[in-house]
Symmetry: C2
Subunit: 340 residues, 2 copies
DNA sequence: GATCCTCTTGTTCCCGGTAACATTTCACGT
DNA sequence: ACGTGAAATGTTACCGGGAACAAGAGGATC
């Protein structure tokens, strides 16, 4: 099959001519307008088929005053979590006939959210979402007071903004419960950067659940999301014998921690259990394979797009917007060794 | 700063009115037309600034008969390599004022490249690139005979298509040389799927270089790109003592191999050295950290966009299109144990 | 001072869709 | 047969830019 060129792409008027109708009739058929005679619809669809016609998106956008484009701002695409969420949003949007333009704040952007918004607005977007934002980005999007619908992917409700999230509290709770069931009472929590709202929510959830199990209160360590951090942290960790388990901000940090402990001659899970977050592809085959909380990115992406497009199209906003993650138990967690 | 809504976004005519000129003068200023009086340009730019004006991309696309959009087809976004390449292309395109719409063949698409092309053409694209394609995709893009410029990211030249690639041969050569220098003569090569052109090129390069070092000829194993495959492979590998090193298709496979060997009680690098490909983020902190060939994705993305836009805009096509990777030596490789 | 050029700017139309309104067609009741 | 209203379809204008052509201004030439 040979595909035609941009230049000889047929227009709606040509389709109309082929079908022996006016271009408006073609437009109506393609938009599912109700009052079109069956026979006319067939003629038109046949002509469309015959010419291999596609509507011109740019012309449509111009006439509709809608771009059929969603903007997405993500803090970084380098981490597995945000990148996966973004990909899922892409896919879900495409299924709905929308495309997604994304900007990552950690690259050429000098991390200025406002510039990112400007960039996306210049492109023309019908809606905007912030994927697992830091608090500064949420503040910036409020200040910008865009008037396209704005959605944040973050744990707490956000007045006047749309919101969808993974149930971080549930994820952390499952992890803590798992450790508790294995007899751990001395658990160290290594958080992501505290200005990421996801990290903050997890940390709160950890504190609450650890407390309810009567675990010993431990200082929360805040790092970044990188394996390098995990490694350095593990290397520098003092009074290791006081702990029996570590819960890490994500799988990368967990991996780094395992590596660091290994380099100190400590073994996972014999000396310490380690739990990650995300279920990145490598987690299944790290040594030892990581127990982790798998995030439901596909469902998240679908929910984001559902909510956003409902808002754009003036429909009722779905309310089921907190998506449960799943605990994946592997070998990096085991029964707590008896108290030191 | 408050950003205006899609609805009250000013048009070029409003800017023109504010500046006291015609809309064409505004258009000329914005397009850098030479014959514009300095004072007029200033007036216009001032008005643009004052109104926070951005040109409407859709209207521009319609008038220019160009979409300022590049299509990208990638076999999968789930692997680190293709995903990184794609991200880099995105970034490079944005710097040039283009956006990228991508389709991954392994998801909702039933893997049919032709459908992916159709989807992208329906969106309207000025150029198309195939990122690290399988041979079937290249065949499909030829058959489709699109008449936008088409670029393939693959090792061999491709008559009539544009091409840019990472120098896979050099990468493999560096890896083999590294092993040879450590005294390895019995090296097993675990390839990616042979219908991926990158995998094929690496395999050929491996054969050639291994031979030139006088390494023993070994059957090439073809798998997929996953850690699961690497694990299963390692578990099932027979006559292990005959080998002193394994070169894997990518870091994930390498990770799985290390894991599998570990589960068999074999140690890396003491019993076997392992080399990966890509330098994925986890590779630095796996146990042991992986020796690997780092791919220059940023440069690759920039080159892809340079070539493609040169073609779109009718400029001279850059010829420097083979980008050298870099060997990263870590702990998964060591001196070969003396012959078994 | 008239002519011709070049520099600069303006006018008009078109790109390919959709909305709003106009018009034709047709079934039906009387 | 004719009026009537709904269904089906057509006509026109407009979305916001850019290309082509037109036109006014100012300078050089003779």
């Amino acid at each position: 099959m040979s595909t035609r060129s941009a230049s000889d792409r047929p227009s709606m008027r040509q389709v109309a001519e082929t079908a022996g109708v006016s271009h408006m009739t073609v437009s109506r058929v393609l938009n599912g307008h109700p009052s079109i005679k069956e026979s006319t619809r067939d003629k038109v669809l046949h002509a469309v088929e015959q010419l291999g016609y596609h509507r011109n998106i740019a012309a449509r956008a111009l006439a509709l005053q809608r771009t059929l484009r969603i903007g997405a701002v993500v803090e970084t695409e380098a981490e597995f979590g945000p990148a996966s969420a973004l990909r899922a949003i892409h896919r879900a949007a495409r299924r709905r006939g929308y495309s997604v333009s994304s900007v990552a704040l950690d690259e050429d952007e000098t991390g200025d959210p406002d510039r990112a918004f400007q960039q996306l607005l210049a492109l023309g977007i019908d809606a905007l979402c912030l994927v697992t934002p830091r608090s500064a980005s949420v503040a910036a999007v409020r200040a910008a007071s865009l008037d396209v619908p704005v959605l944040v992917v973050k744990p707490e409700r956000e007045p006047e903004l749309l919101r969808v999230c993974v149930d971080q509290q549930l994820g952390v709770t499952m992890a803590v419960d798992h450790l508790a069931a294995l007899g751990h009472r001395d658990v160290l929590y290594v958080s992501g950067p505290m200005d990421w709202l996801d990290a903050r929510a997890r940390e709160r959830a950890f504190r609450a659940r650890a407390q309810s199990w009567g675990m010993r209160e431990r200082p929360i360590v805040a790092g970044d999301w990188s394996a390098d951090f995990g490694y350095d942290f593990a290397i520098g960790l003092e009074r290791v014998p006081e702990y029996t388990a570590i819960v890490a901000a994500n799988d990368e940090v967990a991996l780094g921690i395992v590596h660091g402990l290994h380099d100190r001659g400590l073994r996972v899970p014999d000396d310490l259990s380690v739990v990650g977050f995300d279920d990145a592809p490598f987690s299944r085959h790290s040594i030892p394979p990581l127990t982790t909380v798998r995030q439901p990115f596909e469902a998240l992406g679908a929910a984001v797009v559902d909510v956003l497009l409902a808002a754009v199209e003036g429909l009722e906003i779905p309310q089921r917007t907190k998506i449960p993650p799943e605990l994946v138990v592997r070998l990096s967690t085991a029964k707590a060794r008896t108290a030191p």
